[in-house]
Assembly symmetry: C2
Homo-oligomer: 341 residues x 2
DNA sequence: CTGTTAGCGCGTTCAG
DNA sequence: CTGAACGCGCTAACAG
């Protein structure tokens, strides 16, 4: 009889089994079941065990829609990234999800394709799920996005960029500072003829402009950067490099908006018989764990994107604990010179 | 007055604004608002417009928790992948999400780290959101996973593998067939001394065993494969290659469980002054869009993972339209020979 | 420590 | 074409 009940019950986990069924089996009231599950410390150990047993017996799976509706707590975090095809954002996403899932939060993923309009559109439906928090990549958003976010009162983390006027929380670094640092670094190493190869997304372009601005402050004139449209794959890197090499004067160093692009540049350089970095140096931007394995003779701006993800999770969990907490963290970046190590 | 109302209202999208508020402003009943939003064809054009206007005026965002609870339709699809750091799964995920989001579905992402136990654990909480469908990578799952899935009645797609006994729908290919095909292909090209470099995840190991099995059928003895533990990054590729080259006899061709590994092998070969494919040939597995840009002299098993993702979305949408639809699709794979093109 | 009451915001069903 | 009543499954607030 018990066995029979069990067999029947286990066949309906996400189906009909509700709190009430568990309550009946355990011989307590529904609310006690709820408490045994979510606030074990407020229930006697004995009833907690009875409930736990009943839960397993009937194969109960809490309905988080109902729970969220009643408690206004969804245990859901929405994360919007421009792409998951770059290791930088894949690592960031993974780390953020890991941090959040340890605390029992699940992740609703949105991919914006580097478009603020798509971000706005995604946000519209996402807000309908009443997430406990939203993570945005970048600090550029449509006014409607800002309005909705502000009005909803949802905790927000803007990541991977810097601004003096964030929506709420902020974990990132200044792309202008990156561009400037790249120029100074290479200048100090003695390079004078520069070329730029950038993809036309917002942040890359800001690094690009800061780079050229810094060059001009240093008294250096450089040809305009080659600007490709996303995505930044090896193919674009090769094409861009061909374009650069077809110019009148050959640069001493090629500065790229991403590591992937830089890898393409390396591939094209190899094919054209150019030695790196003696004939031509290359500088990238990203998480060089991979690229440095391929080609040690490469400078780069190194970002620990997994750390950014972890910090995002931390910022949110802190906020969940203390409503007033508001992390704003400039985590900076690191210039690495593979040639000197 | 109207303006004032508007200003107030627009400040509370995800906050207090409910269907009832919209109804009041539009001068209709709540249910009419609901219909105007979800079944426009069943409402007069005039009231539809009134409602639409009211919605915008008060900044209403439908509460999908409440909606899902009442309608038993969440417009949510859970997607579980082993990792998002391999382009194969990133592309698959992206394509699946794109297909689904066009139809108004959002994606809850779960990363299993190649572990069926983690999959089981993720599934537990995911089912609590009552997703309209679940996408799983692979056909290997714990018995509890199977039990819960079967009981919940949620549409399931198993992807990226093949079995004669799927849980529900299936979009993938046989990894045994891949392993066998690799062996035959290379044999026909005249290679006789083989080496294997595999990562120890379930599917890679099955390709590995099928590969060695096929070799032995062809009457060829080969040394055991080098097996690395995940993740399969360039580093593992280089290390594995070093291990292979340290053996007594040098293989003519190295078969890898992934393109990333193969890239590492290429890098190590280059460093040791070996020409590919004349000194040593390399075969990979994955989406070669990138690797082929780096090194054209490489054979591979080519999978169009974006297409798999799109097919997953199609299979689900078809099921949503017609409950009886049950797609089971062996999409096969392609052996590509970069050397011959 | 446990139970009762009363919604959370919406969609389904049935009437009009 | 529109409305009223009811319930989805759960938890907050209070009582005991």
């Amino acid at each position: 009889m018990t066995q029979k009940l069990k067999d029947e019950a286990i066949l309906a986990p996400a189906n009909g089994v509700t709190l009430i069924d568990v309550a009946k089996v355990a011989g307590v009231s529904p609310i006690t079941v709820s408490r045994a599950l979510h606030k074990p410390e407020v229930v006697s150990e004995q009833t907690r065990q009875k409930v736990q047993q009943a839960v397993e017996q009937v194969g109960y799976i809490p309905n988080m829609l109902a729970g969220g509706l009643a408690s206004r707590q969804t245990k859901l975090v929405a994360i919007l990234v421009p792409t998951i095809s770059h290791s930088i954002f894949a690592d960031l996403l993974k780390a953020a999800m890991d941090g959040l899932s340890e605390a029992g939060y699940q992740s609703l993923l949105g991919i914006t394709d580097y478009s603020v309009d798509k971000e706005e559109q995604l946000l519209g439906t996402i807000l309908g799920r009443r997430p406990d928090a939203i993570v945005l990549t970048g600090t550029e958003h449509t006014t409607l996005t800002r309005k909705r976010l502000g009005a909803s009162g949802v905790p927000v983390v803007e990541a991977w960029d810097w601004t003096d006027d964030p929506i709420d929380m902020l974990v990132g670094f200044s792309h202008e500072a990156v561009g400037t640092a790249m120029a100074q670094h290479l200048y100090e190493k003695g390079y004078r003829r520069f070329a730029g190869l950038f993809v036309s997304d917002n942040r890359a372009m800001r690094r690009c402009h800061a780079f050229y601005e810094a060059l001009s402050v240093l008294g250096i004139e450089a040809d305009d950067a080659v600007v490709m449209s996303p995505p930044a794959s090896l193919k674009e890197g090769r094409e861009g490099m061909r374009e650069l090499l077809a110019r009148d004067t050959r640069p001493e160093v090629v500065v790229c908006s991403s590591d992937t692009l830089a890898q393409g540049v390396l591939a094209e350089a190899a094919e054209q018989g150019l030695q790196v970095p003696s004939d031509i140096a290359v500088m990238g931007f990203g998480d060089m764990a991979n690229a440095s394995q391929l080609h040690p003779a490469l400078s780069t701006v190194r970002l620990d994107s997994a750390r950014v993800g972890a910090l995002i999770a931390d910022a949110l969990l802190k906020r969940f604990e203390d409503q007033r907490s508001c992390v704003r963290l400039d985590m900076g970046f690191e210039l690495i010179d593979r040639q000197s190590t």
